[in-house]
């Protein structure tokens, strides 16, 4: 994710010069803010991406995984 931000940053930087008033580009003025934004963004993206892909995965494999059939055997014992 860090790589992704670094790849993008020069492009965004050019825009930042053009729209200095626009609030999001404050991030790119100070290095600490930039780095913090990168790490926070990477963390948030990681969580969101993992959860999203797990949902997709469960949809692809609906009915095949243990969690889909578990209820049959756990309820029977209780």
């Amino acid at each position: 994710m860090v790589r992704l931000f670094c790849a993008l940053s020069p492009i965004v930087w050019e825009h930042a010069n053009a729209n200095r008033a626009f609030s999001i580009y404050i991030l790119f003025r100070k290095n600490t803010a930039f780095l913090g934004a990168v790490f926070a963004g990477a963390f948030a993206f990681e969580v969101a991406y993992d959860n999203g892909m797990d949902k997709v995965w469960d949809k692809i494999n609906k009915g095949r995984q243990w969690k889909d059939i578990r209820h049959k055997y756990v309820e029977a014992e209780e």
């Binding site: 492009i11 993992d50 892909m53 995965w57 692809i60 494999n61 095949r64 995984q65 059939i69 055997y73």
Partner: protein, 321 residues
């Protein structure tokens, strides 16, 4: 050119018998006088001799062994049919209901001869059995304790951390009970056999009712075309209705074979589900990153790629010098 080289090497080989010094002398003088010194007669004799030796050795081989029948289909085993296993698709997990059925088949049929020594009960929890089922199953078997104060080793009921028990005490006992043949451990059998799932499924379902005419089957062996050598010590074990599935699936021979093969694939690759899920995430994110890097490259190169080189000829001047 090739024939020439071959002939020359034959001659070199023949002269090497006479002494090493001659060989050394010959290779030292190859460039200067070698080609010029060979007469056509000697070349022809050498070619005839080499041909005679080759033909003679082939004839001798046939005389000794009858025919050159190495790597025949009977020795290799019939190629297993490719089956469209769903669990082998890129983004599909094991069908855990099938794993449960396959484990039942293993327990009721295979386990009497084949061990599954690399699978602990804890691996079954959360994939095939519930915790309580696995604990109950483990407690059916006895395991050695650590030595107590007197150094005696006692027996205790199994725990989740124990491994599935072996049917025989050791390999010798297994061979003795099976007419000299050792039933292989099944933990990694899907990875260990060429053809994997397809091979094992074909083997289990491929026993003919009787061996084909002309096939020689050794004493105590059974004919199976998929087994390399065709003589297999294991007899056909799966027959329709052999096990009674708890989920009501009809227990046909092929159904049981399919379930137990999928179970054995799980035993060999218990990490497969997680591995494929991680693989999907990696593929998606890397393809997005790749697309972005292509876009960035084009963006950066746009000025260079879109420039136009124009030839501007010097103006024709009216005055001539």
């Amino acid at each position: 050119m090739l024939a020439r080289t071959a002939l020359r090497s034959t001659r070199t080989f023949a002269s090497a018998k006479n002494g090493a010094f001659q060989f050394a002398k010959r290779s030292a003088s190859t460039q200067s006088s070698g080609a010029a010194a060979e007469s056509p007669l000697r070349l022809n004799i050498a070619a005839a001799a080499a041909t005679a030796v080759a033909a003679g050795s082939i004839a001798w081989y046939y005389h000794l062994y009858g025919s050159a029948s190495a790597m025949t289909p009977a020795e290799e085993g019939l190629h297993a049919t490719k089956y469209p296993w769903v669990h082998q698709q890129w983004f599909k997990t094991f069908d855990h209901q099938a794993l449960r059925r396959g484990f039942q088949v293993y327990r009721e049929v295979c386990a009497s001869c084949h061990s599954l020594s690399r699978v602990p009960y804890r691996a079954l929890v959360g994939t095939i059995l519930t915790v309580d089922e696995a604990k109950a199953l483990a407690e059916e078997n006895e395991y050695d304790t650590e030595p107590n104060d007197q150094g005696e080793i006692e027996k205790r009921p199994g725990k989740l951390s124990d491994y599935l028990p072996d049917p025989y005490k050791n390999d010798e006992a297994a061979r003795f009970a099976n007419n000299g043949a050792l039933p292989p451990d099944l933990s990694l059998i899907v990875k260990a056999r060429h053809g994997g799932c397809d091979y094992i499924f074909s083997l289990l379902t491929g026993y003919p009712d009787e061996p084909p005419a002309g096939a020689s089957v050794g004493a105590g062996l059974n004919f199976n075309p998929y087994f390399p050598g065709t003589g297999i010590a294991m007899a056909r074990v799966l027959y329709d209705g052999l096990v009674d599935y708890e989920d009501g699936t009809p227990a046909s021979t092929s159904q049981m074979a399919k379930d137990v093969v999928e179970f054995l694939n799980w035993a060999a690759e218990p990490e497969m589900d997680d591995r494929k899920r991680m693989g999907m995430k990696v593929l998606v994110v890397t393809s997005v990153l790749f697309a972005m890097s292509v876009w960035v490259k084009r963006y950066k190169w746009a000025w260079l790629k879109s420039r136009k080189i124009v030839y501007d000829p010097p103006k024709e001047s009216a005055t001539r010098h």
